[in-house]
C-alpha cells in the first residue's frame, strides 16, 4: 500500500511520510517537557553525573519517540467514501472511525516550519457538538489536502441542496461554479508594526515581571540563603536601579509584543470565499482558519486609544463549534480597518442599514451603583482600616469623584440599538467595543435582577448564542420584558436557521 499523490482518495492510504517526522517532533517535545524536573534537579545538584543522565534521557526520548511515531504512522489509514471519511488506526487498540461529511463543521490547514520545509499541511477536521470527534491528519501533500477539502465541501453542498430542495421534480440542480476568492485584507509590514505598537504591553510586562520573580526564587537555590540576600540588597539598593529596571521591563515588553505580532501575523491574508471567510498568517508556523458564514454567531470589534489613532480595529467572528475546540472557535483578525468591518457585517447581517435601528441608552442609575461599589465602598474600607495610623488616608476620598467621572462617561458612551432583525451596541471609556447580533442566532434569553434592580424596576438581559453571550445591563424592566417577548416571538415564528 503506497501513498502517492496519484492514489485515488477512495482507496485506503497512509499519510505523507513527513508525518513520521512531525510525530517524532511532537512526541520528543512531550517527553522532554515531562522530563524537565529531572534536568533541573541534576543541574542544581553538582555531585550528580549530569552529562550521564542527560545522555540517557536524550537517547531514551529519541528512541521512544521514533518507535512511537513509526507505529503511529504505519497503523494509520484513511479513505473517503461517498458520504463519510473512514479512519483506521491503532496497534493494540484498533479504532475504526467514520465521520459523516454533514457532521464536519470546518476544515482547517495548519503548517509548522517542518510542514513548510516539506511543502505539506496538517488537516484538521472539526465536528460540532459531540466531543472527541475532532480529527487531525498530521501531514498531507498540499494537493491531496486540497483535493480532500474540495471533495468534502462538494459532497456537503450537494447533500444540502438535495435535502432542502422542496421540488423533487427539479433533479438538475445547477451548482454555481465556485467564485474566485476575493482578497479582503492583506497586512503590510507597516500595518503589522501598527498592530504590534497598539497591543496590550502591560500584559507582557506582567508576564516578564512574574518571570523575574520566578528567577529570584531560583537565586535562592543557586546562591544559598546568605549570599542571595547580599545579591538582592545590592541590586535593589538604589531607587535608580529599580526605575531603570522598570523601564527595561517595559521596553522589553514592548519589543517582545512587537516581535510576537510580526511572527504570528506575518503576511496575514483574509479572503472572502463563497461559503465565508478564510484567514492565513504566520512567519514560521502558517495557520489557516475558516469561518463559514452560517457558523458565525456574533460579530464583535474592539479598539483601544492607540488603535483609534491608527483607525485600527480587532475583529472577532464568534463561531459555533464543539466544546473541545473552544479556543479555536473565535476567528480573530488582529488588525483591520472600517471597510473590512463593513464587509463582514454585510455578510453576517445582509442589508444592514443604520436607519432601521432605533438607539437606546441604558439606565443612568448604573452610574450611582458603579460609584458605590468601586468608589465609595473600597474608599471607606481603606479609611476604616488606616485612619488610626495616619490622616493622610483621607486622600483616598479623591478616588470617589474619579470613579464617578469614569462611570458617567462610560454610561454616556453605552449605546444599543434595536431593529426588527437584530441588535448592535457600542461602549467603552477610552477604547471602543462594539458587536452586532441577528435575532435568529439567539439560543436563550435570561433576565437578571439584583436586589437593587428589583427595587428600582430594572433588569439586565443576556442573549446566549452558540458563539458566546451578549449582555445589555440596566434596562428599565418594562423595556427588558418587552424586548424578551419580542425576540422570543421572532425566534419562534420565523423559521430561520441559526446554523
Amino acid at each position: 500500500m503506497k501513498t502517492t499523490d496519484l492514489t485515488p482518495l477512495t482507496e485506503e492510504q497512509r499519510q505523507s511520510p513527513v508525518a513520521i517526522l512531525i510525530i517524532v517532533q511532537t512526541l520528543f517535545i512531550t517527553i522532554i517537557k515531562s522530563a524537565w524536573p529531572v534536568f533541573v534537579f541534576y543541574f542544581i545538584n553538582p555531585q550528580s553525573k549530569f552529562e550521564y543522565f542527560l545522555t540517557i534521557i536524550a537517547i531514551g526520548a529519541v528512541a521512544i519517540s521514533t518507535i512511537g511515531s513509526l507505529i503511529a504512522y504505519f497503523n494509520f489509514y484513511f479513505h473517503l467514501k461517498e458520504n463519510e471519511m473512514v479512519i483506521r488506526a491503532g496497534l493494540f487498540n484498533k479504532t475504526n472511525r467514520n465521520i459523516p461529511f454533514d457532521r464536519i463543521q470546518t476544515i482547517n490547514f495548519t503548517q509548522t516550519i517542518v510542514h513548510r520545509f516539506f511543502n505539506v499541511v496538517q488537516l484538521d477536521l472539526d465536528t460540532a457538538g459531540s466531543a472527541g470527534n475532532e480529527l487531525a491528519i498530521k501531514a498531507l501533500s498540499k494537493t491531496k489536502a486540497n483535493e480532500i477539502r474540495n471533495f468534502i465541501l462538494q459532497r456537503k453542498a450537494s447533500q444540502e441542496t438535495t435535502t432542502s430542495s422542496p421540488h423533487p421534480a427539479d433533479p438538475e440542480i445547477v451548482v454555481a461554479p465556485p467564485q474566485p476568492d476575493k482578497e479582503l485584507l492583506r497586512l503590510s509590514i507597516v500595518d503589522l508594526l501598527k498592530i504590534g505598537v497598539s497591543q496590550n504591553h502591560i500584559r507582557t510586562a506582567g508576564i516578564i515581571l512574574l518571570f523575574l520573580i520566578g528567577l529570584s526564587e531560583y537565586a535562592e537555590v543557586l546562591f544559598g540563603k546568605e549570599k542571595e540576600r547580599e545579591v538582592w540588597s545590592v541590586i535593589f539598593g538604589s531607587i535608580l536601579v529599580i526605575t531603570g529596571l522598570m523601564i527595561i521591563v517595559l521596553l522589553a515588553a514592548f519589543l517582545l509584543t512587537l516581535v510576537k505580532t510580526v511572527f504570528r501575523y506575518y503576511d496575514l491574508r483574509v479572503t472572502q470565499t463563497d461559503s465565508g471567510f478564510n484567514i492565513i498568517a504566520g512567519l514560521f508556523t502558517r495557520t489557516e482558519q475558516a469561518a463559514p458564514t452560517k457558523k458565525i454567531q456574533l460579530v464583535e470589534w474592539r479598539s483601544n486609544p492607540v488603535k483609534r489613532l491608527f483607525g485600527l480595529y480587532t475583529l472577532y467572528l464568534k463561531q459555533a463549534s464543539s466544546k473541545v475546540l473552544a479556543g479555536k472557535k473565535t476567528f480573530m483578525i488582529p488588525g483591520c480597518y472600517q471597510p473590512q468591518i463593513d464587509t463582514v457585517r454585510q455578510t453576517y447581517f445582509p442589508d444592514f442599514n443604520k436607519d432601521d435601528f432605533m438607539e437606546h441608552t441604558i439606565s443612568s442609575l448604573i452610574v450611582g451603583r458603579y460609584t458605590l461599589y468601586f468608589g465609595v465602598v473600597p474608599a471607606l474600607i481603606l479609611i476604616g482600616i488606616y485612619i488610626w495610623k495616619t490622616w493622610f488616608i483621607l486622600l483616598v476620598l479623591l478616588w470617589i469623584p474619579l470613579v464617578y467621572f469614569y462611570a458617567r462617561t462610560w454610561h454616556q458612551r453605552w449605546r444599543y440599538a434595536l431593529s426588527f432583525r437584530g441588535l448592535y451596541y457600542s461602549k467603552g471609556f477610552l477604547g471602543q467595543r462594539a458587536a452586532i447580533l441577528c435575532w435568529e442566532k439567539v439560543q436563550a434569553i435570561t433576565l437578571h435582577q439584583s436586589p437593587f434592580q428589583q427595587r428600582r424596576q430594572l433588569a439586565s438581559v443576556t442573549f446566549s448564542t452558540a458563539g458566546g453571550t451578549l449582555d445589555l445591563p440596566y434596562l428599565p424592566l418594562e423595556q427588558a420584558t418587552k424586548l424578551q417577548d419580542f425576540v422570543l416571538w421572532k425566534i419562534e415564528t420565523d423559521h430561520e436557521e441559526w446554523m
Binding site: F357, H360, A444, T446, Q449, A466, Q479, L488
Partner: protein, 174 residues
C-alpha cells in the same frame, strides 16, 4: 417604543409576565432543606473533629466565632431555601419554556423549543425518596443557556421531557 416599525404590533405580542409561573412540588422544599441539613451536619462534624483532635491551641476568639458563623450560615441557608422555593417556578408555553430562580439575584431564563439540543431527566438519592425528578434542557449556547427545573413530582418530569422533545421535533420538520 422599542423601534419605529409600524408593521410590528409590539403591544399585541405574547406577554410573558401575564402568566403566573407553576411552582415546584411542595416535597421539593423538604428535599432542599434535607440536603442543607446534611451539608451543615457534615461541616459541623469536620469542625468538631478539628476541635477535638487539634494539637495546637485554638485562639479563644476563633473557638466561639466559628460555631457562631456556622449557626448563622445554617439558619440563613434554611431561610434561603424556603424563600427561594417561593420564587422558583416554571412556565410551559406553546413555543418556549421558562424557569425562574434566585431570592436576591433573580434569574429568569427562557428557551424556545426550536433551539433545544437535547433533554435529560435526573434524580438524586434524596430526590428518589420523595419521588421527585429534575428536567435538564440543553441548547447550543453553552452553560449560560442551559436550564434545569428541579422538583418535578411523579410522572411530570417525563411528561414534560416528552412534550419538549415532541415540540423540538415539530420545529425541525417544518
Amino acid at each position: 417604543m422599542l423601534f419605529e416599525n409600524p408593521s410590528i404590533p409590539i403591544t399585541s405580542l405574547p406577554d410573558l409576565s401575564e402568566h403566573s409561573l407553576e411552582s415546584l412540588s411542595p416535597a421539593y422544599l423538604k428535599v432542599s432543606q434535607i440536603s442543607t441539613i446534611l451539608f451543615f451536619s457534615i461541616l459541623i462534624a469536620i469542625l468538631s473533629g478539628i476541635y477535638y483532635f487539634a494539637e495546637f491551641s485554638i485562639p479563644y476568639l476563633v473557638q466561639w466565632a466559628v460555631p457562631a458563623a456556622w449557626l448563622f450560615l445554617f439558619l440563613f441557608s434554611l431561610w434561603h431555601t424556603w424563600r427561594n422555593f417561593k420564587v422558583q417556578g416554571f412556565l410551559v408555553r406553546e413555543h418556549d419554556l421558562t424557569y425562574r430562580t434566585g431570592v436576591f439575584f433573580r434569574k429568569t431564563i427562557v428557551i424556545p423549543y426550536n433551539r433545544v439540543q437535547h433533554c435529560e431527566v435526573r434524580q438524586g438519592p434524596i430526590e428518589r425518596q420523595f419521588n421527585l425528578r429534575r428536567l435538564e434542557v440543553f441548547t447550543a449556547g453553552g452553560e449560560s443557556s442551559d436550564l434545569s427545573i428541579p422538583g418535578l413530582g411523579g410522572e411530570r418530569a417525563e411528561q414534560l421531557k416528552t412534550f419538549v422533545i415532541e415540540k423540538t421535533g415539530q420545529h425541525e420538520n417544518n
